[in-house]
Symmetry: C2
Subunit: 309 residues, 2 copies
Amino acid sequence: MRALITGGGGFVGQHLCDHLLRCGDEVVSLGLGSQNERPGVTTVAVDIQDFDAVERAVRETEPHCIYHLAAISFVPSCEKNFLQALQVNVGGTFHLVKAATSLTDMPKFVMISSGEVHAGTTAAELPLTEHTPPAPTNAYSTTKVMAETVVLTAARTAGLPYVIMRPFNHLGPGQDDRFMASSFAAQLIQIKHHKKPPVLEVGDLTAERNFTDVRDIVRAYRRAAEQGSGTYLVGSETTKMVSEVLDELIRLNGVLVEKKTDSARLRGHERSRVALKPQFTRVKELGWLPEIQLSTTLADMLAWWDARI
Amino acid sequence: MRALITGGGGFVGQHLCDHLLRCGDEVVSLGLGSQNERPGVTTVAVDIQDFDAVERAVRETEPHCIYHLAAISFVPSCEKNFLQALQVNVGGTFHLVKAATSLTDMPKFVMISSGEVHAGTTAAELPLTEHTPPAPTNAYSTTKVMAETVVLTAARTAGLPYVIMRPFNHLGPGQDDRFMASSFAAQLIQIKHHKKPPVLEVGDLTAERNFTDVRDIVRAYRRAAEQGSGTYLVGSETTKMVSEVLDELIRLNGVLVEKKTDSARLRGHERSRVALKPQFTRVKELGWLPEIQLSTTLADMLAWWDARI
């Protein structure tokens, strides 16, 4: 399969590139910056906000599928500069979709959305399935809903084959330490190497999330590209409190620490949200199941930071 | 009531300003350009893409309600420059909503969306009500769905009081002749004054639409601002074929013409769409009914062009 990927230099994109290459796919990565360069991957320097460049790259690649991951994913960045988030997250999707529908053999469009689009789902709307209407609660998840709208419109009007993937929390080596679990792992490794006092700054530890290894998640993306259609909630049914994840990281790291709440890490709307317990029936029908144990994921995250700090 | 309005210089905005003034409201119009200036209306020169300016104007006005009409509404413009449509139609909404939620006494936010968000609704989804999921089919209606998403997110997270209005086709004096019925009227008046041969360029005449006078539509907006909540389909239950509207215009104009199909006026996705027959139950519960007969609307449109050609 010839795959075109955007955001291939990001946390998830790098793992997806690795997985596609292992599967024997040809991989063309669209994006700016050296982080997009990866052995075995053809990189095309394209700004997703430039339609002509996107169209040229898509026409020259003639991909069988497009994995669209490129997005500004850090919530505060989206809140602060919403117009930019619109341009990149929504406009970029529009450009890719428009280029895809201009091909005679339209590629399968794999839109990587987010489970965050359901963050505002109320208890009355549960159980959470692919039929539950999105209920975004911040500027980032709002742009993801909008990007889904772009894909659905192209499917409706031009017959674009697509899947929309809504992954829930995913973890793994290489994640930016602006994200919670990776921030914990990075701090713990710093503490282990005496580069930081044994005090860990934490946010809301009582929140419940379902955590999945990023390497499992990207397998679901390729599976859906091959066989899927429509929308998929993607994740693991095992729900953990953030505190359990942290305690496991501390145990694996083998160094005692004190936990200290940092109010800057408490996001207003997330605290009160209901435990969603999403139903992953559809993605399982593709024959996909998460395989990596949480403790393995967390150990790999610590090892990744250990090699870098 | 102190009302803040965006897009007050546009076709609908001008009629809304007139109606609000007649009702005794104080009207502050946000926008650039001399078309926003209107006797009795306070104009503030603000580009909706400039958040700081929008916030300042909203804070200084402290409106009881905000009528948000400003948008790039011409479909081909949105298709051609989607990033600009995003900035204005979606980013502009985000800026206004953010400014509105920053006020202690949050104004009622009247989001003027469009019945076009249902253009892709299938026969299986009928009857069309406010519960029917949006199904946009072009770049313009896609941005309207996105703007609705912005409003709904603010309602969910910040408690913004809102109504979303989805008006169906509306007509009246002052409409841009890029829109069908107004184009017919303008051409007919040109023919009447021998400024054009008696040949009328038309698009798809078989399409069925429900047409409502813009002056009725804006009454619904104010009614909803006062008493409404949630989403409203707005329009008249009388469905007409475009050909009937045209024939009535020709009859009123009193000059025989030949009709000639102009392929540039045929929009691909509109031709095959189902007759939606929307149910206007919710807006009627506000005590609103369209009052102006179609023949009156069409006569007024001809008179408007007659005064200008």
